[in-house]
């Protein structure tokens, strides 16, 4: 999809009819549009207009729990100036796979006392054929056509707030869910998922029938499996509920923070607390990773417990080796033959020489049999190898323990600072601020408990899954015993095997897509990172649990150590990889919208985004403020030869916004330099 033009009428801040052209036919390769404006001027409103026109949606994912009455689309001043209803509409012109489309959606806004009512008014889609004819798509089919162009389930990935997008790299249940949903939506395996559930129903029904059969063991196993599945379902519901509760608590904390910011005297403390909390999260993540590494060391570390015994045994054999007892200078079987024959190998009669005889007896005592000698030598070799590793392993374990100890002590320090800052906020002279802060603390404590509950539920779920696997193996054996001659049993086996096969195929797909997205994200990451980051950061991995990880040059997890800017670049790389996959691996035929794109980024990162995004996305629309889009960035964009359109959102005397197109050459005169700030 390439957006060409949007016409808005009485939509949010935009009073009257205004238009914005994202693409000029005369400059087809200039695929970057910059919409420039201060906060609150309506940059996000433009994206809202697109989402409303395409999908009829009034709420964006970033709106959180903003009440519906604050999300009205109709322009309020137009409504106040009119006695009757006001028509609010958005019209979009776009092309997709060589076809042109015009989509229009309108609502009517009405004042009802203090309330504003909005009613759907019009939804029309026209397709312009190559011979210039215009076809009208039946209303009932419009959503299907639009979904086939841009699936509504993945749309949220293509508009993002640059400063908040780094959340994708935070290892929380909600993020894992978000990434998992993005990947699942992208898989587009709806039919497969329906098939799995339908075969599951059949299988369950057959198992119920079988459990009523006369085979006692079979019935018992089926009952246990059914109970296990029920418990798993309950736990999954509980995990979903917990994730929702955590999300809501976080939203409530953000809301409380905004309320608290109204108290100027504690504003700096709030900022400090936010930073400390972020730092704490990073350190906790680092501690988790260190723990995981230590977990992997458990095997090696356990050998260290027996190191004194190993060394004692090794040294004992070594001493015997030194003395020539192992291997003995003369083989035991040879000595025994001499004593039996009473003849030395030189032909002498050994019994005639008592000194020589006693010498031979001495040898016999000192030598052991060949098998024992070989075993001792093998043991010596093995222990020698093991002993060599002790040093390295001990160093590694000690290093990791020390690292973990340091992280824990940093966490303790942060916690102390946090407590200190929170106390200062809590003792604010303003009673209302103190109350708000107490409320926040309760929420924070609640999140800790919820997260612990979620971790426990997850562990329990894993245990139940293992138990189910074990029971299913037993069931399979039992069903074979009952015999394939029993038709009911045959049907049940077939349904269950088919369900397993479909689940396997689904898992294969998920694994493959995770791998592909990881590879693709890594490629983008390496292009977008600055020199320093490229030197150390190597690979983005989508973990089994759908969390994102970045590996350093030693293939070690490094996510906890990267900066906020690097996290933003990592999230953008992940989104670009999703978009590429959604575009069937070619150029991303989805417009990428970035709100506050450069806020946290270093100049080198900005430079890389400007150089690379226009080459892999079919269209890049930047919604930027004056503090992040300056003459430097504009110069880079101009040099890239991809910048096509430039719009400024200007305030009007009545508090609305007008969209004003500017020539990109004049942008440099309008924008400011970094030094001006």
């Amino acid at each position: 999809m390439i957006l060409h033009k949007m016409i808005v009428e009485n939509f949010r801040q935009f009073r009257g009819r205004q238009e914005i052209e994202f693409w000029a036919p005369s400059l087809p390769h200039h695929n970057v549009t910059v919409v420039f404006g201060e906060n609150g001027r309506g940059k996000t409103g433009l994206f809202r207009a697109i989402m409303f026109c395409l999908f009829g949606e009034r709420r964006l994912s970033q709106d959180g729990d903003v009440p519906r009455e604050e999300l009205q689309l109709v322009n309020v001043s137009a409504l106040e100036a009119n006695t009757g209803p006001v028509r609010t509409s958005v019209e979009l012109e776009f092309t997709h796979m060589g076809r042109s489309y015009r989509l229009r959606r309108a609502i009517l806004g009405m004042q009802d006392g203090k309330r504003i009512i909005e009613e759907d008014d019009e939804k029309r889609l026209f397709v312009i054929t190559s011979d210039g004819n215009t076809l009208t798509v039946p209303t009932i089919e419009i959503d299907v056509v639009i979904d086939s162009i841009l699936d509504r389930r993945v749309k949220d990935y293509f508009l993002f707030d640059g400063e908040k997008i780094e959340r994708l790299t935070r290892a929380s249940i909600e993020q894992r869910r978000e990434i998992s949903a993005g990947i699942r939506n992208l898989l587009n395996v709806d039919a497969l998922e329906t098939a799995i559930r339908a075969v599951g129903r059949v299988s369950k029904a057959l198992e119920r029938e079988l459990s009523n059969s006369s085979h006692e063991e079979l019935s018992r196993l089926l009952k246990r499996i059914s109970d296990n599945e029920e418990e798993q379902n309950q736990l999954r519901k509980r995990l979903d509920g917990l994730a929702d509760e955590i999300r809501l608590a976080r939203q409530e904390i953000d809301k409380t923070d905004n309320e608290l910011k109204k108290f100027n005297e504690i504003r700096h403390l709030l900022d400090k607390r936010k930073l400390l909390e972020q730092e704490l999260k990073d350190q906790e993540q680092q501690a988790d990773e260190a723990l995981k590494e230590m977990h992997n060391l458990v095997c090696k570390a356990s050998a260290l417990i027996v190191s004194p015994t190993v060394i004692t045994v090794f040294e004992h054999i070594e001493r015997q080796k030194q003395k020539g007892e192992i291997p003995s200078e003369i083989r035991r079987d040879l000595i025994e033959r001499i004593l039996t024959d009473d003849k030395c190998i030189c032909g002498r009669d050994v019994l005639k020489d008592p000194a020589a005889h006693s010498h031979i007896l001495d040898w016999q005592k000192r030598t052991s049999d060949v098998t024992t000698q070989d075993a001792a030598l093998n043991l010596w070799r093995y222990l020698s190898e093991v002993r060599n590793h002790f040093g390295d392993d001990a160093d590694l374990v000690e290093k990791r323990l020390q690292q973990y100890g340091n992280i824990r002590s940093t966490i303790a320090n942060i916690n102390r600072s946090l407590e200190n800052v929170s106390n200062q906020i809590g003792t604010s002279e303003r009673q209302d601020a103190t109350k708000l802060d107490e409320h926040r603390k309760k929420l924070q404590d609640g999140i800790i408990t919820l997260e612990a509950n979620a971790r426990n539920a997850q562990t329990l779920l894993e245990q139940l899954k293992q138990e189910e696997e074990r029971l299913r193996a037993l069931l399979k054996e039992e069903r074979l015993k009952v015999g394939r001659n029993d038709e009911l049993s045959r049907r049940s086996i077939l349904a269950r095997d088919t369900q397993d096969a479909l689940n396997d195929v689904h898992d294969q797909f998920t694994r493959e897509i995770k791998q592909l997205i990881g590879q693709s994200a890594t490629q983008f990451f390496r292009e977008l990172l600055d020199k320093e980051g490229r030197g150390n950061l190597r690979t983005i991995v989508v973990n089994d649990d759908y969390s994102l990880q970045v590996l350093d040059r030693y293939k070690k997890p490094f996510l906890a150590n990267i900066s906020a800017g690097q996290r933003q670049i990592m999230s953008i790389s992940f989104i670009a990889a999703l978009a590429r996959a959604a575009s069937r691996g070619g150029q991303i035929e989805i417009p990428l919208f970035m709100d506050t794109p450069f806020g946290r980024l270093s100049f080198e990162h900005r430079q890389n985004l400007i150089n690379h995004i226009p080459t892999f996305a079919s269209q890049w629309i930047l919604l930027a403020t004056d503090t992040e889009f300056r003459r430097q960035e504009a110069n880079l964009l101009k040099t890239s030869g991809k910048w096509g359109k430039f719009f400024i959102l200007r305030p009007t005397h009545d508090g609305n916004t007008t969209i004003e197109e500017q020539d990109i050459n004049s942008a440099l005169a309008i924008l400011r330099d970094e030094e001006d700030y």
Partner: protein, 66 residues
Amino acid sequence: MNDLGKTLLPDVNALIIEKLNTYPADVRELAIQAIRLSEAYPETAVAEQLQTIVRKLAKQQGGNGL
């Protein structure tokens, strides 16, 4: 190289069916029918139609002396 490039093509179900090649004939047959039905019908309707197919396939199995 995995075959993900292909999975993202519109006919993703063709690839799923290809992946089912490694399974026994009756399992494959039932899985394919389930996917085809799922393209057109909701879950409950698919499950109902599958009951008949399962019965037929299980009978055939019995007839083959399995």
